[in-house]
Amino acid sequence: MGKIRTPYLLLLPGFAFLFTFFILPIINLAQTSTQTRIINGDTGQYEQTLRFANYIDAFIENREQFTRSFVYATIATVAALLIAYPLAYALAFKAGKYKNVLLVLVVAPFFTSFILRTIAWKQILGEEGFVVPTLRTLGVISDSTTLTSSAFAVVMGMTYNFLPFMTLPLYASIDRIDPRTLEASGDLYANGFTTFRRVTLPLSMPGVVAGTLLTFIPAAGDYVNAQLLGSPNTKMIGNVIESRYFKVVDYPTAAALSFTLMAAILILVTLYIRKAGTEELV
């Protein structure tokens, strides 16, 4: 009877919700982005003038922060991949009976407030922490070098905070690999490195793609790490959008910046997915 209708009935409430509170706001954001200030109006009063030049102005004014966001997010994503891949691999293949315990331990740190952990990093890397004096004694950094309020601290904070979004999809896809495929590769005289490059890595690509996306996207739009661990010289586009909304009350510019950020991310994601050749991600 209602067999054909069943999926649509199941989708209806959720999609009605998404339409009202996700699609509609995005459309509304697009409308806001071309408004201009009402002359002689109060702060925060804007009218629709279809001024597309808002985009150009916003981009030119903030291209430095845009570039920074994408550079930082890229470095943090690569770093997270390099840290998480061996970890996920070890969990999937080498942890034996401790697998579940270790998996819990990987996720556990992220139940502690993310802002508190970021502030903890600030203090650990700060002058009173133990990292800076140790590195100074070892002669790795000079006496005048500091680690906080720097691009290094911001990127490190992002790498740390988004690590579970990298580790979990990687683990899920590596764990699904049949160990016999690796044995087969060894039987065919492939050495460890070749086996990794030709068998493990290709089979774990869905995890790599999902993990890098889930790390890169929030990292590119983040402003908390830059705010807590950075300096005025490490401001990212998220910081600009936030201050346009709350401090400057310049909604059109904030909307134009948000839209540009979203478009840039969507284009990059599409190109990346096409290049990486995985469509089963969604």
Binding site: L10, L11, S113, I124, Y245, V282
Partner: protein, 279 residues
């Protein structure tokens, strides 16, 4: 017995070779120790400083005390912020889990027109940076003269949690053995009975995991909350705002307690899941 022979051969090797051989053999273990240390350093720091007799600003170690733990609500506003976070988290989790699970069943169990565009619609909120989600929702609320606050925050959280619920539950549905349901049908269970007695119990761990994920995402969210909560305080917002003038050690107590609670919950959940599998 093998080890004895190896031990005997060690003294004949130069120390450097012994060390590099040991490192080579234990490379993965060493890596795990380093990685877990990295993961846990800020947690350990937060935990340690929950015992700090700090007064107002918890920056420098001043001495050990249990006062923060015996009086976790001692700092002004910290517990009301926590209460708000829990309320928002529970409501958002409930709505997101119900709506998301329904969508997951539709997509995971049915072939229908518009399935791939449905998948896309689910993926989009995850591909949108939080700041854009938060800012666009705030703009919408402002247009309709809805003041940011409790319910706008709940709505915003449902938006971003729902996609994660769909993905998690869908993965669980995809891993089900279809023969189990066929067997139920063969034994004259009708569609509803099959769903209630076979499918749902099998998918339940996925739904539980999704709900836990949704709650932890909601509870820890800052960016979207900051845009849509107005003057309402939540725990992450409280910590962020007090960072400027000094975070009370009670915040560390609450964060540490959350950590232990979550770990216990996950371990108990796994133990229950395992026992079910055995019986």
């Amino acid at each position: 017995m093998n080890t004895k022979i190896k031990d005997a051969s060690i003294p004949t090797l130069p120390l450097g070779a012994v060390i590099s051989r040991w490192i080579g053999r234990n490379l993965i273990r060493i890596y795990m120790v380093v990685a877990f240390t990295y993961l846990f350093i800020p947690v350990a720091y937060t935990f340690a400083f929950s015992f700090n007799d700090s007064g107002k600003s918890n920056l420098v170690w001043k001495g050990f005390t249990l006062d923060n733990w015996t009086n976790p609500c001692g700092a002004p506003e910290v517990c009301s912020a926590l209460g708000n976070s829990i309320k928002i988290g529970l409501l958002a989790t409930t709505f997101a889990t119900i709506l998301g699970t329904m969508i997951a069943f539709a997509i995971g169990r049915h072939a229908f027109k518009g399935r791939s565009s449905s998948n896309l619609l689910i993926f989009l909120p995850m591909a949108t940076p939080e700041i854009v989600l938060g800012a666009s929702l705030l703009s919408l609320f402002l247009v309709f003269h809805i003041n940011p606050g409790f319910w706008p925050t709940v709505i915003a959280h449902v938006v971003f949690c729902m996609s994660f619920v769909v993905v998690t539950v869908k993965a669980r549905i995809a891993s089900l053995d279809p023969r189990l349901e066929q067997a139920a049908m063969d034994l004259y269970a009708n569609e509803f009975q099959t769903f209630r007695r076979v499918t749902l119990p099998l998918v339940a761990p996925g739904i539980a995991a999704a709900a836990l994920l949704a709650f932890s995402l909601s509870f820890d969210d800052f960016i979207i909350t900051n845009f849509n909560s107005g003057t309402l305080s939540t725990f992450p917002k409280f910590v962020y705002i007090s960072a400027a003038r000094g975070i009370p050690a009670q915040a560390n107590v609450i964060a540490s307690a959350m950590f232990f609670l979550a770990v216990i919950l996950v371990i108990v959940g796994q133990a229950v899941g395992r026992r079910r599998k055995v019986s």
